[in-house]
Each structure stands twice: as C-alpha cells, then as structure tokens.
Amino acid sequence: MKNVMSNRSWERAKDFIRRLCRKKITVVAIVIFLIIVLAVIFADVIAPYGYDDQDISKKFISPSAEYLLGTDNLGRDIFSRMLYGGRVSLSIGIFATLVSSAAGILIGSVSAYYGGRVDNVIMRIFDVMMSMPPVLLAIAIAASVGTGTISAALAVIISTIPMKARLARGQVLALKDQEYIEASIATNATTAQIIFRHILPNILPVIIVQITLTIASSIVTVSSLSYLGLGVQAPNPEWGAMLSAGRSYLRDYSYITLCPGIVLLLTLFSLNVIGDGLRDALDPRLND
C-alpha cells in the first residue's frame, strides 16, 4: 500500500510539472527567473567587484570586458551592484509578500466564514487602507519609522494585506456554501477544522498565483520607494535606487539605467508568466 501511494504522488507531481511546462513561454520564464535568482544568491561568487568599490578614475566606462555592464558615476561596477542589488529587491519583495499573504489569508478567511458584522467592519478597515496609494503609505511610514530596508518592507506589507484578504475572502465566500462543508459540519467538525482542512487547501491555488504576481508588484514598489529616496538608502544597492541614480545620466550614459531596468523587467515578466502557468497547472480538475 505504501508503495502504491508514493507511486501515485509521484505520478501527480510529474503531471503537475508537465502541465506547468505545457507552454514554451512558461518554461522560458521559469528558466529566466531561476537564472536571476541563482545569480543573485551567488553574488559573492559571481560578482567581480564589491558593490561599494569605487574607483573615480574609472567612472563612466561603457560595458566592456573589464566591466561587464560598465561603471556608474562613482566608478562602481554596475554588474556587481546589480547582483547585490537583486538580493535586496528580491528578498524584500518575497519576504514582505509572504508575510502579508499569510496575514491577509487568515484575516480574510475568518472574516468571510463568520460573516455579519465582523466581516463588515474588517472589510471597511481594509477599504480605507486600499484607498491609500502604496507610495503615500510608504512616505507616512517613513516619516514615523524612518527610512531604510525595514520601512520599505513594512510599506509593502501594509499596502498588500488588503488585496490578499479581499481575495481570500472572495474565495471563501464562494466555498463556504459548498456541500462538502455542510457534510463536515454534519460530522461534527469544528470551525477551525473546517477552515484549516477544507477552506485553506481549496483557496490555495488561486492565492499562490496571486502571490507570484504580488511578488512582482512588491519588487516594483520597493524599487519605486528607493527611486524616490525612501526605503533602501545609498550606498546599499537596489535596482530602483540604481534606476534613480542613473536618471541624470540618461542621455549620455543610458546603460547605467538600462541595465538594472532590463533585469527588473525580466524579473517581473517571468514572475507574471509563472503565475499564469501555476494557475493553469494547479487546478486538479483541468485536463487537456
């Protein structure tokens, strides 16, 4: 019996991967994303220079053999800064998204399941939160907490919780009248059991897709914040900050902005496509 079980799980895993890779573009996106992530993780190994190594004599060098993507106005190697910068952008984006997702899902599910006044109050609070653009929110947070990585992460978390909660709530509302929930109630399941055993696993596919998309938008938010001078501060590299720094040199030394810009673009593109692919692959009932 054990053997049979692991066989079936293996079959299902293979099936899932096959469905995920059905479209070529999804495979391309996965590869791109993996390359970026690995490059960023192994920045120490790959980067030829430190992110902070300045050599004023070597400023504004175009992409060459010595400096793969050129140097910026302070003689720093852009390629190395991009690798280290990726660490900041990606880690804040991913971490903040995961935290806000967990919180949002829990709050949204509970709110939907209990309904009534509880639901109303929570949703109105979120409405207020959602009416504030993330950037304004970030400025407000920066004003109270100060600038820096933490403040950027906080801004992302607070601005993305409402959407997650909304999504989870919508899913739960659709689910909670399903007969299998009724069946569980009829067999003495407690509310907690129902939420954790039935509701969460069933809303997870949609949420997972949303998560990949939110990671993408969080990276944009973090980058925007750095661009504006909030969030991550110099000399910490971060893609948005690099974009901002290159602003003044856009005409003559466009590569200072283009390079981090393109990598940002590729990251977002691949996350979006992976999100789409996951959505198609995760529904156990979807067949050819």
């Binding site: 007969e179 067999t187 059991q193």
Partner: protein, 316 residues
C-alpha cells in the same frame, strides 16, 4: 406505532429582499424505526430544506423535532454533537459534496477524526471496512474524487455517512445525478444497508418511480406544504390531491402502447414568497373553486392512514 423521527408543525422561513420565503410551512411527519419516508416534490417545494432542518444544518423557525421521543428542537451544542453521530446525510451531487482536494480515505476518515478517533491505524481499519461495505475496491483509497465516476463518488458519500454508525439518514436525491444502470446499483446498496444496519431513512427525490420502490410511506410537498401523505401503495394506487395526480401522470412511462391520458398543468411553479391565503396550488389546478382561493386547505385524513390537503378531495 411509536415514531422514531417526528416533526410537529415544522416551519422554516427565510428573510429575502422580496419578502418572507415559506420554505417549509407546517410540516408534520412520523417515521417508524427501520422504515423509509419518501418525500417528493418539484423545485421549490421545500423537501431539501426539510431534511436539513431536521438535521440541524439549518435552524427551524417554529415547530418541533423529536428524535426517539426526545424533543431536540432546541438542542444545545453538546447535545447536538451527540445527535450528529446518530443522524447523517447523503447528498445529491457527488461532485459538490466531496472536497476535491482530499483523497477518498481522508474523506471517509474525517467523521471518525472529528469525533475523537485519533489513532491512525484504527481509522484506516474502519475506512477499509466502510469501503468494503459500500463496494469500493481498496485501490481507490488514495484517489481524488474527480478521478472517479459518479457512481463511485456517491459510494464515497455513503461510506462517509455510515462512518459513525448512524441510526437515521436523510438521503437528499442520492441517485438523481447518476446514470440509470448505476442508479439501480446504488438504490440496491441503500436498501441493503438499511437491512443490515437497521437504518431509518428520509428519502428525498423528485423521481417518483424511485420513491415508490424504496419507501414505506410517501409525502408529497408543494411550495413548502404537505399536500398528501399516505402509505406508498395507497398514494400511488389512489392519489387524491390534484397535484399528486398531475405529478403521477406527468412521469413518462417506459412502456409502449400506453394511452396518453395525461393531465397537463397550466402555468409555472411559483415560489412560496409571501404566500396569499388559500390553496397554493390554486393557479394551476383544474378543479379550483372559490373556497380554494379563500381558505387554506387543512391536511386531514380522508381515510385511515391517508391525509390530503384539499378542499375538494374525494369529490373531484
């Protein structure tokens, strides 16, 4: 006959933006131990709601529910937990009533877990036993519901309902979504289980032939009310309410050379929102008279064991 499951004047009303929906209106039933009450009617008659109210999946608005002589209408939480082990439900839709993300054995094991059986091997043994009882081969144990066909999915639902050794099961259209040849298998299974475990059933269906086959007594509902209630042979042999007559004549019979003597009702089935006084069937009834529009017909016994709610019963 001492009723095992009984309701007295049971009512369930819903508040809707358009008014009060009288889903179940003053329904009284008595089911003896080991017997089956068939509940028939079309959309909006309230049969599914009735089943759920008895099981406390919905709160009743008025009236009483008695289980083995015990008034359980306002049962508290602890009492309800205990009752739930003895009253179960089989659903119509084998798709919607099983969690698509749980395997077969997890679905059947859930009631066991919820009620304190925490030992994994005990659960596994009981699940194996239940799967055998309902005719599910053990290899389906870690399949997902969508990987099986309707008939097998329904067996999973039955196994789940049996898990806690219930005494009373509400069968809510358990075979309506199944193919004819599978229907027959499941009907026979349900009957077998009744014999084996001394089960009492409330069998809800719109399919009169199935209800006739499986029930001892039958209740016909229309727009929330009981219109006729009698032993199976009596009701099918001598239907007295115009709706029952129309219902019976509407069923297409799989036989050739039958005279087409069909009663065709006019109009549509309405919904029981803010009902007017008078008989609710009056708009579609070919025998309607003034009294039918003005006074509510009471459910009364026109013969021993045969109740009808019609002013003109027996005089049509």
């Amino acid at each position: 006959m001492k009723a095992f499951v009984e309701t007295i004047g049971l009512k369930k009303y819903f508040d809707t933006p358009r008014g009060t929906l009288h889903a179940v209106d003053n329904v009284s039933i008595q089911i003896a131990r080991g017997e089956t009450l068939g509940v028939v009617g079309e959309s909006g008659c309230g049969k599914s709601t009735l089943g759920r109210v008895i099981l406390h999946l919905l709160d009743s608005t008025d009236g009483q529910i008695l289980y083995n002589g015990d008034d359980i209408t306002h049962a508290g939480k602890a009492k309800l937990r205990d009752l739930r082990k003895r009253m179960q439900i089989i659903f119509q839709d084998p798709f919607a009533s099983l969690d698509p993300r749980m395997t077969v054995c997890k679905i059947i094991a859930e009631p066991l877990y919820n009620n304190g059986m925490r030992d994994k091997s005990m659960r596994a043994a009981r699940v194996a036993e239940l799967m055998d009882t309902v005719g599910l081969p053990p290899r389906f144990s870690d399949f997902f519901p969508h990987e099986l066909d309707g008939g097998r999915r329904q067996r999973i639902g039955i196994a789940r309902a049996l898990a806690l050794n219930p005494q009373f099961i509400v069968c809510d259209e358990p075979v309506s979504a199944l193919d004819v040849s599978i229907q027959a298998q499941v009907i026979n299974l349900i009957l077998e289980l009744q014999q084996k475990f001394d089960l009492t059933y409330m069998f809800i269906s719109h399919d009169l032939s199935v209800v006739k086959y499986i029930s001892n007594n039958v209740m016909v509902m229309y727009l929330g009310q009981t219109v006729e209630y009698a032993a199976t042979d009596t009701l099918f042999g001598n239907p007295l309410h115009p709706y029952t007559q129309a219902l019976l004549s509407a069923v297409p019979i799989p036989e050739t050379r039958r005279k087409k003597d069909r009663i065709l009702l006019k109009g549509e089935i309405t919904s029981p929102i803010n009902p007017e006084p008078g008989c609710r069937f009056v708009q579609r009834c070919i025998y309607a008279e003034d009294v039918c529009r003005q006074k509510d017909p009471m459910l009364r016994a026109v013969a021993p064991g045969h109740q009808v709610a019609c002013h003109r019963a027996g005089n049509l």
